[in-house]
């Protein structure tokens, strides 16, 4: 009790000396996405954008208080793999900034991110507060993922640049074997390259650069490593170096069990951090994924054998992988409805994934795998990105009633709602 008074007095006096902003959310059901699970009725004290206390009967002299009795709070959901902010309308190329033929692995999309995209407030309204925005070029390497807040802020949306490199061994006419070889050769090339070179390595430029470079006769090595029509800019090689140095994970889209094993093998030989995206047949190699500690980004509603690479797609994939000890991250099929990852999570629960794990799959596990510091859970010291729901966040009939980004309440309004208001009033 004394301690509480002391803390209160302390905050009271501190308020004269700083511009600290406090918010106290009271009496909510809180899904923490930590090992503490769900707190049936609890309060959250937020100061300067951070969660400072979680408990019962909290009070503060200076906090703005909101009673959330009957409401549910979860961490803001994170879209683990979307084109939020870099695609407006899929079929209209001039609204897309998610693809490049100039750069491959080194494509960083930060400058193209549009915080005013209509998809941003729309998905915020669906419960997403952070997006891992990923380019989707069609080659082996799609490019680099960056993390953005869905605040809509023109100047402060970027949270972290280049947190993962994305690749894809499916699609196109070429053998998957060739793509895996190219992946390996590209990593090898990056491992022996230093960056005294000009930004673009065309054949002529490479030759010139290398004849000037006294260190080695790299050109001969380059030629032996890469097919004639493959070239990388220094930017691309730098991205590969980040993977080789284990600074960032390599996220590879793969579905067939044997493909996943081939990639696990490659990740061991190259000692890189691997994340499998898709993993439709992951359940068939769950033991190997678990032993190699490789997380998977799933879309749990995938059960259609869309191709011969995913004949084993099934709805209990998430549940089976979790049982084997694989870390699960949950995404959506579509960027426009990135928030529907929560419906996929609910479906995974109906096929055996524990509810708390499903929530972690939408939040904490994504923050863990991509090193998003102090995000993804409701925990003291963490950033207060929170969503208030009228019920179970995974239930299709529930909806978002409020969103806090870094402790600030933001409007829950989007263009679609304005259209509805216009025509409903008629």
């Amino acid at each position: 009790m004394n301690k509480k008074i002391l803390i209160s007095l302390f905050s009271f006096f501190m308020s004269f000396y700083s511009f600290s902003e406090e918010l106290l959310l009271k009496n909510a059901k809180i899904h923490t996405a930590t090992d503490k699970g769900t707190l049936e009725t609890a309060d959250l004290l937020i100061r300067n954008g951070l969660i400072v206390r979680i408990g019962k009967n909290l009070s503060s002299y200076q906090a703005q208080v909101e009673d959330l009795s009957g409401k549910v709070i979860s961490p803001g959901l994170i879209a683990p793999h979307s084109q939020l902010g870099i695609v407006e309308i899929e079929l209209i190329p001039e609204t897309r900034d998610d693809r490049s033929e100039i750069y491959s692995a080194g494509l960083n999309i930060d400058s193209a991110f549009n915080p005013s995209s209509t998809l941003i407030p729309y998905n915020l309204t669906g419960g997403i507060t952070l997006s891992l925005t990923t380019p989707s070029s069609s080659g082996l390497f799609s490019g680099l993922t960056s993390v953005f807040s869905l605040s809509g802020s023109l100047e402060e949306s970027l949270i972290a640049s280049n947190v993962a490199l994305t690749a894809n061994i499916n699609g196109g006419e070429d053998s998957k074997a060739a793509k895996i070889l190219l992946l390996e050769d590209s990593l090898d090339l990056a491992s022996i390259t230093d960056f005294g070179l000009s930004p673009f390595i065309t054949k002529g430029e490479v030759k010139n650069a290398l004849t000037r470079n006294t260190k080695s006769n790299y050109y001969e090595i380059f030629k032996s490593f890469l097919p004639a029509d493959v070239y990388y800019s220094a930017r691309d090689l730098m991205a590969l170096k980040k993977v080789l140095n284990r600074e960032i994970p390599l996220v590879i889209q793969a579905n067939r069990a044997s493909d996943i094993l081939a990639l696990i093998d490659l990740s061991k030989r190259k000692n890189i951090k691997l994340v499998i995206q898709g993993a439709a047949e992951g359940w068939r190699v769950s033991k190997q994924l678990s032993e190699a500690k490789i997380p998977v980004i799933l879309r749990p509603i995938d059960n259609i054998p869309h191709s011969f690479n995913e004949l084993g797609a099934r709805l209990d994939n998430a549940s089976l992988l979790h049982k084997a000890g694989v870390q699960i991250l949950i995404g959506s099929h579509e960027t426009h409805n990135a928030y529907l990852s929560r419906q996929g999570a609910g479906i995974a629960v109906s096929y055996g994934l524990p509810w708390q794990e499903a929530l972690k799959g939408l939040t904490k596990n994504i923050a863990d795998v991509f090193n998003l510091d102090k995000r993804g859970s409701i925990k003291e010291g963490y950033i207060a990105d929170l969503v208030v729901w009228n019920g179970d966040p995974l239930e299709v009939t529930s909806f978002v009633e409020g969103v806090y980004l870094s402790g600030k309440k933001v409007p829950v309004k989007n263009r679609s709602m304005k259209l509805k208001d216009r025509y409903l009033d008629n």
Binding site: L91, L119, N337, I347, S350, E395, T397, K420, L424
Partner: protein, 460 residues
């Protein structure tokens, strides 16, 4: 037998010019085994007619619903299924599917939905593309879908005939065809036709080009209809002396629409285009039965209700193309509630993923409507995926609700069907239990799935 008589009556009345052999082509051969007597008791029933029976029973006898209500007495000799208070609904009907014509796996060799070689292809029939062993079909059955309507794609202004199928395993498409279901005709507004043909630098390349294309087709159809009528009106002697107008597959289908025998299913996103399509229908004297993918139906909900046209919608898909940009979550609810609840709302899938949980899609649309201030109970929202699609397919006298003498297409759910956590537990088609959650041999695997993952096991 009754069905057969109906078909003969239907076909002869509709295509009186056709010889009996021509008329018999592609008829349904579906005939379910006798289900015997089944009594489902202690069920919470959404009837599909707008009612909810909190504790009711259903008696199935020889594939038909013979009794439904509270306090029914258990007949002797019937197989009794105690639902233990679980929810029961009519079998779900998807009015917009491409299963069988865009099968899984998705391969160039099985991409059979768009005859994108000419903007008017009223002469093609989707059923002639259907691969009955598409593994998407049993997955839809597990989602409670007992009937689905397969359409040609939307590359063309007039894409061809659609077909309504029972979701059963069969070697032949005739064996799946819904007995007595009228044919439908797929039309498409907007971006798709003008993109496909504009991209080839041919007509149509604009929305106005689209409209000119429909009108031209209907003018040809009217000419053909007049020729047929003129010939029919001649005396027998006169008929002896001249040939009947020669058959034309394209115009036969279009005349079928003008005669009111073939139902228009019109892919149309934008409000303005729906209003224009209704004017074209007035100009040529036919009816639009339903607009599909009607993203902007909420903008013209009263016009649709005034014209008795259904709108088939998604709960929340949007943004994949420009005409899908103005989606609202309340779309289905606004259509449903138009003119004081006179609207006809349908939730459709157009997707082998979405078709597996149309109940959840309806749940999202219902919740959005109620959040906007409407009062739409489950008993009404269930119609969006049962009775309303049955009406728009012309089969509501046979399925779509749990009423006497209708086909016993019934789903028992393991929880509230309007929840993400619930799944179909037992699915009956014509009283036959084709999916039972507790029986791993159901649903029957397609041929494709046998030994496809490894030689020991089937896919499902």
């Amino acid at each position: 037998m009754k069905n057969l008589l109906f078909i003969i009556f239907f076909v002869t009345s509709c295509f009186h010019m056709l010889s009996s052999e021509e008329a018999k082509a592609f008829q349904s051969t579906y005939e379910p085994n006798d289900s015997g007597d089944i009594f489902i008791e202690d069920a919470r029933i959404l009837t599909g007619t707008g009612k909810e029976i909190l504790k009711g029973s259903i008696l199935i006898s020889s594939n038909k619903i013979k009794a439904i209500g509270e306090n029914l007495s258990k007949p002797t000799g019937a197989t009794v299924i105690n639902a233990n208070g679980k929810w029961v609904t009519p079998g779900i009907i998807d009015i917009h599917s491409h299963m069988g014509v865009y099968s899984a796996p998705s391969l160039r060799s099985s991409s059979d939905g768009n005859e994108a070689t000419s903007p008017v292809t009223a002469h093609v029939w989707a059923e002639h593309s259907v691969w009955t062993q598409d593994p998407q079909m049993p997955l839809a059955l597990k989602g409670g879908v007992t009937t689905f309507h397969v359409l040609p794609g939307s590359a063309n202004l007039i894409g061809g005939r659609g077909v309504t199928l029972k979701n059963i395993w069969s070697r032949t498409v005739q064996g799946m065809k819904f007995p007595g279901a009228p044919y439908t005709l797929k039309m498409a507004c907007g971006e798709n036709p003008k993109r496909v043909y504009g991209g080839k630098n041919s007509e149509p390349s604009t929305r106005m080009g689209n409209v000119a294309g429909y009108r031209k087709a209907w003018i040809n159809a009217q000419d053909y209809q007049n020729k047929l009528k003129e010939y029919e009106s001649k005396s027998d002697e006169a008929k002896e002396l001249e040939y009947a107008p020669s058959r034309d597959l394209e115009l036969e289908t279009l005349v079928g629409v003008l005669d009111g025998e073939i139902l228009i299913q019109n892919h149309c996103y934008r409000g303005e285009e729906m209003a224009v399509m209704l004017d074209i229908a007035r100009e040529f004297g036919y009816k639009v039965t339903a607009f599909h993918h009607a993203i902007e139906a909420y903008k013209v909900a009263d016009i649709l209700a005034d014209n008795g046209v259904c709108a088939a919608m998604w709960a929340d898909w949007w943004g994949f193309k420009h005409e899908a940009f103005d989606m609202v979550w309340e779309n289905a609810a606004i259509v449903d509630q138009a003119n004081g609840g006179e609207g006809c709302a349908i939730i459709h899938s157009d997707s082998s993923v979405g078709i597996q949980r149309l109940n959840q899609e309806a749940a999202k649309a219902m919740a959005a409507g109620n959040r906007a201030g409407f009062d739409i109970p489950r008993s009404r929202a269930i119609k969006w995926i049962t009775l309303n699609p049955a009406k728009a397919l012309g089969i509501s006298d046979k399925v779509g609700s749990l009423e006497l003498e209708k086909m016993a297409d019934i789903v028992i759910w393991d929880g509230d069907p309007f929840s993400v956590y619930s799944k179909a537990e037992k699915v009956f088609v014509d009283g036959l239990l084709l999916y039972d959650k507790d029986d791993p041999s159901t649903p029957k695997a397609t041929d494709f799935e046998l030994g496809i993952i490894n030689s020991q096991e089937n896919r499902l």
